[in-house]
Amino acid sequence: MEKLQAGMNRILPSSDQGCLVLDASAGLALGALSGLEDFEASVRPLLAHLDGLACSPGQLRRLPEQIFGGTTLLVRADWTNALRGEDHALPVETVVHFPILEPEDAADLGASGLVVSFLLGYDETVEADCLRTCVRLALGGKRLGLPLVVEVLPSGPRVSLPGKAAELGASYALESGADLVAVPFTEAASLKTIGAMLSVPWLVKPASPQSAAGEWEQARDLGAAGLWLDHHWAPAGLALAGISDLVRQVRQEGA
């Protein structure tokens, strides 16, 4: 457990400041995102501002070690096509989700933690797969001191109450062994429930780059430990100015 705590400390380096993690792993399913085509050149200037960077296994193995400095590296350990919208070159017909890495592979790649998505609102088998994957990776990760970050994605067509679905996803993540949970920004009552329920740190995923600052303010008051920036940040938000402004706000207000 000491190793695991050390891993967590790397992701959340200081308890009195908000942390910022960028998930740049969406290329696994979406292909080359505008703004991330040259992955190393795109993320290099951001690293000084980030506490954590989530990468695909392929990107992680190509990034030179010396560029990271104090940024913690997380590796995406699952794959899903659920992120593909109607305008994607290959729009999704059947949502699938499965693990692509073992914790040993992640350790081999030099990652400090594992990231998986928990999908809600799709076929029941998808939900079951997510649960099984989370449990397996959480247990495997703990043996190696690799924390598991679970990103809650209540994005399926059967989601009728988004706030409650976020609560459910956060609960499932916790119960299956997550060490850190990323939840989408949602209604205040649900965030409050999530904050009260989760006995592990949690990050909030802003709905958009434009609304991030305001949403962080609300989530911080409810106990969020920082921000989780997903693939929606790639096209517009990867501009250094946008991220560094946000960092300033997260760090100052978290202090």
Binding site: S25, G27, L28, A29, L30, G31, A32, E37, D38, F39, S56, P57, G58, Q59, R61, R62, W79, N81, A89, L90, V92, E93, T94, V95, V96, F98, I100, L101, E102, D105, D108, L109
Partner: protein, 427 residues
């Protein structure tokens, strides 16, 4: 990562210290019907190795039998096909389909440890996009597993994204291949084998988003071996690291020669023309035998089209065909007489450094017309300039530039009335 990965990548992509590889795919017997290239595999594989191939892709079974071809640290690299699929037997391909298949099936067959025992320098696996989501997902899972296992074993993993199935059409295939290339890179491919997208610009994007060496594959065999060379030329222009070409080579009448030509292009900088004639010419010139000319005017059309000025009048051609009596024609072409260069008062014309053709420097040209007047063969025309921009001259001389060394007229002439010769001296 296990040691050995770098050495194996070097063997595959840096045998000639240029980061390029000419590889031949000879694994068709594993997945399609019995064709002559499958029956004669042993002699074909020997020929492509003798031709200088940097790598040969084989099925596991053939890898065992043909292992002696890959002995020694400096020889061609053995690439082993680690999965199996039935796509060539689904119909719509150029094989006979003795046992047609009802659906696409794809599965891993051997692991990296098995491949290493076979002496492999790398393995290759497919990723299918466009058939259905579950097949794609299974492919992703497979690729991810191979990437991790290969990493541990120190074995380079070449992934091959293919866009196949009812969800693929003419409008999305380039997007799907680009998507597939990036997905493979994100999954951990060490190199990517991928079909050509049809033009240099879109293929350059595939190469850019791949972030690892890209090998262009050849697809179905073309009757004209020039097509294989041109495919490689365009792939190299787009930034690819070479090719992993199959049927174009294995069904060739002379696989050794074709591989040697491909190697000359990738490793020695030969143009397609140079490769076809087997040696590099410093400079070229047109050779014309008017008695062979039938007056078909294909050369004139090709000349205008080759210069891509979006104007299609034959008066813009940089050569001419004129009937002189029934069944006889005179071909007017640039004889490199140098009169235009000598008379230009602005030194706007000079010999091109590499092709030896006349080169126009538009910024110096004042459109005085002296070159047009003095040309003894009357093949310098006045090409109207675009209205926009700062240029004030209403036209510029259109002068034969030998199409950069591979003249379109000589390439298209069906009777060899126009051919290409070496120009040994420049006056």
């Amino acid at each position: 990562m296990q040691s050995g990965w770098s050495d194996r990548m070097e063997r595959l992509f840096n045998r000639r210290s240029d980061g390029r590889a000419i590889c031949v795919a000879a694994d068709h017997g594993y997945m399609s019907d019995v064709t002559p290239n499958v029956v004669n595999l042993r002699s074909i594989a020997r020929a492509v190795v003798q031709g200088g191939a940097d790598g040969v892709l084989l099925s596991p079974g053939q890898a065992v039998r043909l292992a002696p071809l890959f002995e020694g640290p400096d020889g061609a690299a053995l690439i082993v096909r680690a999965d199996w699929m039935n796509m060539p037997r689904l119909g719509g391909s150029n094989v006979t389909n003795a046992v047609p298949q009802r659906g696409l099936f794809h599965q891993p067959v051997l692991g990296p440890a098995d491949a290493l025992r076979l002496g492999a320098t790398a393995i290759t696996i497919y990723l299918f996009l466009g058939y259905d989501d579950r097949l794609e997902a299974a492919g992703v899972a497979s690729c991810a597993r191979f990437a991790s296992e290969c990493r541990r074993a120190g074995l380079p993993c070449i992934m091959e994204p293919l866009a196949v199935g009812s969800r693929v059409n003419g409008t999305n295939i380039v997007d799907l291949l680009t998507l597939g290339a990036r997905m493979c890179a994100e999954l951990g491919a060490d190199a990517i084998k991928i079909p050509y997208t049809g033009d240099v610009e879109s293929f350059a994007r595939v190469v850019r988003v791949s972030q690892v060496p890209v090998l262009v594959l050849g697809g179905a065999r073309s009757e004209d071996e020039r097509d294989a060379l041109e495919l490689l030329a365009e792939g190299l222009e787009a930034g690819s690291a070479g090719c992993l070409m199959g049927r174009n080579v294995t069904k060739s009448h002379d696989p050794e020669k074709l591989v040697r030509q491909l190697c000359q292009m990738a490793h020695e900088g030969f143009s397609v023309e140079d490769a076809l004639r087997g040696r590099q010419w410093d400079r070229v010139r047109l050779r014309v035998v008017s008695s062979k000319c039938t007056g078909c005017n294909l050369c004139v059309t090709a000349c205008v089209a080759a210069h891509g000025e979006r104007r299609f009048g034959s008066q813009l051609a940089r050569l001419g065909i004129e009937p002189i009596r029934l069944g006889q024609h005179r071909v007017s072409y640039c004889t490199l007489c140098k009169k235009c260069i000598d008379i230009c008062p602005e030194s706007a014309l000079s010999w091109h450094g590499s092709t030896g053709a006349v080169e126009l420097h538009p910024d110096r040209c004042t459109a005085c017309g002296k070159c047009v007047e003095i040309c003894p063969t009357h093949v310098i025309s006045k090409a109207p300039t675009a209205a926009q921009g700062r240029r004030l001259e209403p036209w510029l001389p259109a002068i034969c530039d030998l199409c950069g060394g591979g003249p379109a007229c000589a390439r298209i002439c069906p009777t060899e009335a126009i051919t290409l010769g070496e120009r040994s001296t420049v006056k």
